[in-house]
């Protein structure tokens, strides 16, 4: 293969500072991006990685600092200039238009055709040519919204390459992918690197960094805290990222499962569009065990959680909790029946951001904290002080609005609220999404403690690390069904295949077949 782009100069960021109001998202960051290397930007959520790359790509304007390519200053006033300078970006939230075809998305902004007319046949040809050249297969006429996320991402990468990107930024590209898709993506990244392109890979997943990086830069709270090499251990990287020592494994005693508490029998749930999201699903969770539903995002987990809570109707089947039928019961009833619920998107469904910590801590339990319609303010305050202490919520005061807290502390408030009631079932959907590594440790410990108190725990997670460290048993979900229930020590490749819909037996066989 010809390496046409190997002579590209180094992209140099110097002293980049970006402030949003009083918050300094990037504090004088200096970074070299070298062609022919994969440079990992490692940092927790909110560390400022995406902000930095948005500055580089011209979507945000830096307050201080400068960017040079070789000795040429880069004056990106917008993405157009950045793209012209050879910078391409694959965004965390895909910048694709769902109702357009692949070809339309690919040419948007630099459409082929004469005299203002759009030539779709030329657009198609361009897609075919690119997908041939980079061996990334896509159908030019498919609607983007019909494609699985892995393919959508492929379109994004091709789109960036179509713009002639020599410096390719991938912002959290693995968050939505199955393990197999992640492997494929890494192969693509290596191939592009070997062609002489510079790859910037933004992530907070240590394993991926170690696997693919040539250079590692760790960012914490908007500052570069250090460089590392891929042979650094995960623990070292984690403590650089967090700023203190963290343990990545939750030590927990073996589960002592008791009686079945949550029983799902043939549950079918339709998404609001009418499409079947949960398909004839049966599952039992016993007291004192943690069942983790693992799977790639968008396989019905969200709908399942909402149906259990009672915000989506159960079309067919029954749900019982401690023998009580709660099928289609409204949230008020399911919560009273002993359901503790940690929603997937805490900002949207988990709390009221403008309300104080104290208010949020009692918001679904006003019966206890009100007296004939009057709030018992002293009881609410006492409760808040106690929970803040118990859950190590880092805040200046219990009257602070929840919006002012970090993601991890917000999640602690949500969990504290749920765990302060007497629960039969704790249902947590992505309990540590957007939470810093330090808080993850704490949240996991609390969840395990709740299990040991005899509560049935059902966790929904897309992060394999979380699945492995919490689960007493793993239920793999794919297209609304449980593919299989497997023990927590199941190898990752097997889990990965199952997350793509392969049965346990076939996954084991396939692994052995390809392994030798």
């Amino acid at each position: 293969m010809s390496t046409t782009t190997h002579s590209a100069p180094v992209l140099h960021l110097e002293g980049i500072t970006k402030r949003f109001g009083s918050l300094t998202a990037n504090d004088s960051i200096t970074l070299d991006i070298t062609p022919g290397r994969i440079h990992c930007l490692l940092g927790e959520n909110g560390a400022g990685k995406s902000t930095l790359m948005n500055v580089l790509f011209g979507l945000l304007e830096a307050d201080e600092g400068r960017i040079t390519i070789g000795d040429q200053p880069l004056l990106a006033k917008g993405p157009k200039e950045a793209m012209d300078a050879g910078i391409g970006m694959v965004h965390q939230h895909f910048m694709l238009i769902p109702v357009f075809t692949v070809a339309e998305n690919m040419v948007l902004g630099s459409e082929p055709g004469r005299a203002g007319l759009l030539s779709i046949s030329d657009a198609r040809a361009r897609v075919r040519e690119l997908s041939e050249r980079y061996k990334l297969d896509v159908d030019p006429d498919a609607l983007v919204e019909d494609l699985p996320v892995g393919l959508q991402q492929r379109v994004e990468i091709l789109k960036a390459l179509a713009g002639g990107a020599r410096y390719l930024i991938l912002d959290e590209p693995t968050a939505v992918l199955t393990p197999q898709e992640i492997d494929e993506l890494m192969a693509v990244m290596r191939a592009l690197r070997d062609e002489g392109r510079a790859i910037v890979f933004i992530t907070h997943k240590l394993r991926e960094v170690k696997e693919v990086a040539d250079d590692i830069t760790v960012i914490r709270r908007g500052k570069v805290v250090g460089q590392a090499t891929p042979d650094a251990s995960e623990t070292e990287l984690a403590s650089m990222m967090v700023g203190r020592d963290v343990s990545l494994q939750v030590s927990k005693a073996p589960a002592r499962p008791g009686e079945p508490r949550l029983v799902l029998d043939g549950v079918t749930v339709a998404a609001p569009s009418g499409a079947v999201a949960v398909d004839d699903l049966s599952l039992t969770v016993r007291g004192g065990e943690i069942v983790v539903i693992a799977g790639v995002q968008g396989n019905g987990q969200t709908e399942l959680a909402e149906a259990l809570l009672g915000t989506l109707p159960v079309a067919i089947g029954t749900v019982t909790l401690d023998g009580v039928d709660i099928t289609d019961a409204p949230p008020a009833e399911t919560l009273r029946a002993g359901l503790g619920y940690v929603p997937e998107d805490r900002r949207r469904d988990g709390f009221v951001g403008e309300f104080s910590i104290a208010q949020n801590l009692v918001i679904n339990n006003l019966r206890e904290f009100a007296n004939r319609g009057n709030l018992r303010l002293d009881a609410i305050e006492a409760n808040a002080i106690e929970r803040i202490e118990e859950f190590d919520i880092r805040t200046s005061s219990h009257t602070a609005p929840l919006n002012s807290l970090s993601g991890g502390n917000q999640q602690k408030v949500v969990l504290a609220r749920e765990l302060s009631r007497d629960l039969s079932l704790l249902l947590a959907n992505q309990p540590t999404r957007g939470v810093d590594v330090g808080a993850i440790e704490f949240l996991h410990k609390r969840i395990v403690a709740e299990r040991d108190a005899g509560t049935a725990v059902l966790i929904i997670s897309t992060e394999l690390e979380e699945v492995e460290s919490l689960a007493d048993s793993i239920a793999v979900m794919y297209r609304g069904r449980i593919v299989g229930i497997v023990p927590p020590d199941t190898p990752r490749e097997v889990l990965g295949l199952m997350m793509a819909g392969v049965s346990y037996e076939d996954a084991i066989a396939g692994r052995e077949g390809s392994g030798e």
Binding site: F57, L59, L60, G78, P79, K80, M83, M89, H91, F94, M95, L96, I97, P98, V99, F100, E104, V107, L108, G109, S110, E111, G113, G116, L117, L118, K159, Q180, T268, A270, A271, P272, S273, G274, A275, V276, D279, P313, A315, I316, Y478, R479, L497, A500, G501, V502, S503, D506, A509, G510
Partner: protein
């Protein structure tokens, strides 16, 4: 050919289950259709004699026969069809293409049944050519207004100001026609007025990030106030400005001689021809040009458009302005296009809002929106055609019929439709 990497991967299912919302919609539309069927059945047994449907009128050169049908069996048959479709909807779930066809069948049955019932034993025949010719005439401003709506909403700017834009244009056309005595100059002025009001919409919606709906209401009120004030101050007592010629129907040589379709399609006022051409133009521009692709992209996902270097606000603005051209043409219809001098701020008579309904029912697609505009035109003309037939129905009810049909169609049969994803959403960089 190639070996599968993943063994026995299950085939993707496309199973669906009826959501409660869809079920409610199905049951309510089924019940509604059945009720209409029942009414028609009652009507069938109160009517007598025959109905005469004329395929040409007294002025047409080629006379076509007048069809005579016995009223009772035809109306009864239509009622039976409606009852069958309604019952079907209530009884079971109908998959997608069939439900549409059943809906169309019910619509046709309703129309045939209604017209035959109305024409039963009437002193005059029901003249189908008049009905269809009038349909196009009534639909003209609605179609043009809908093109304005499609263009701005596809770019993500909600436009409830079509009414006001058309009113301003109607007034401007009238005044300029009075001043210049030149209808084409007046039409040009109307377009200019439409564009200027679009500038107002664009600036406040896109630069000052005002809520689109509130802004639209303000523009409508402003248009009423402005034209009313100017009319009373300047125009009312000036015989010069108040005497305005009207564009006369133009018969297209040859084509207008065709039997049946000739008098329907090819003897129309100029703006009706312009409206039809406009629909084609808007469709072409939106789907076949680079600019159209960009317009649709900023209405769906402005952030994505920004990342590929598209000027989001500029693109939105240009589309709103182009929309103004069509609102201007549509507004001109109410004065120079059809009826003469501007006399009252009520000339547009809600057509701008009906155009908006056509946009939504037509799913933001220019051709579908135009078809919906024709549907509204049809029901308005129906009230006119049926008027002299001495129906047992009060004329006020007939006048209200188009709006009633709109409510039923929007609420029951069409249900929820998906518009441009970022319609009405402000786009600010860096968020």
């Amino acid at each position: 050919m190639s070996t599968t990497v993943i063994p026995d991967a299950p085939v993707r299912t496309s199973k669906t289950v009826e959501s409660p919302a869809k079920r409610r919609q199905r049951l309510s539309s089924g019940t509604l259709i059945a009720i209409v069927g029942l009414l028609l059945a009652v009507a069938a047994f109160t009517s007598t004699g025959t109905s005469r449907i004329a395929l040409s009128d007294a002025f047409d050169e080629i006379k076509l026969p007048t069809i005579e049908v016995p009223a009772v069996p035809v109306v009864a048959l239509a009622a039976a069809v409606l009852l069958f479709v309604g019952g079907f909807f209530v009884a079971k779930r109908v998959p997608k293409p069939y439900s549409t066809w059943l809906g169309v069948l019910a619509g046709v049955a309703l129309l045939v049944g209604f017209i035959v019932w109305v024409a039963a034993d009437a002193p005059l025949p029901f003249t189908l050519t008049n009905q269809l010719n009038g349909t196009l005439q009534y639909a003209t401003p609605i179609m043009l207004g809908a093109m304005c709506g499609v263009l701005s909403e596809r770019a993500g700017v909600v436009n409830v100001a079509i009414e006001g834009q058309m009113l301003t244009a109607a007034f401007t056309a009238s005044v300029v026609a009075g001043l210049t005595k030149n209808l084409w100059a007046a039409l040009f002025a109307a377009v200019l007025a439409g564009v200027l009001s679009a500038v107002l919409l664009g600036i406040f919606a896109l630069k000052y990030l005002m809520d689109h709906v509130v802004l639209g209401v303000v523009i409508n009120l402003l248009a009423t106030g402005f034209t009313g004030f100017m009319f009373h101050q300047l125009v009312k007592d000036s015989p010069d400005l108040n005497a305005v010629a009207v564009m006369q129907p133009v018969a297209i040589p040859g084509l207008s001689q065709l039997p049946f379709v000739g008098p329907i399609l090819f003897v129309q006022r100029p703006l009706s021809y312009i409206a039809i051409v406009s629909v084609v133009v808007v469709w072409f521009v939106l789907y076949k040009t680079k600019w159209g692709l960009r317009v649709r992209s900023v209405g769906e996902h402005p952030h994505a458009a920004d990342t590929v270097g598209i000027n989001v606000v500029g693109t939105k603005f240009s589309s709103v302005l182009l929309g103004g051209v069509f609102a201007g043409l549509g507004g001109a219809f109410f004065t120079i296009g059809n009826s003469g001098a501007f006399q009252t701020t009520g000339v547009t008579a809600g057509n701008g809002f009906i155009a908006l309904a056509a946009v939504i029912m037509g799913r933001w697609h220019p051709v579908l929106a135009a078809l919906m505009a024709l549907f509204f035109g049809f029901s308005r003309q129906l009230a006119q055609t049926v008027g002299p037939l001495q129906t047992p129905m009060p004329s006020e009810f007939l006048q209200a019929l188009p709006y009633l049909i709109t409510i039923i169609a929007v609420a029951g049969l069409i249900g929820r439709v998906r518009g441009p994803a970022a319609d009405g959403v402000h786009y600010v960089k860096g968020h």
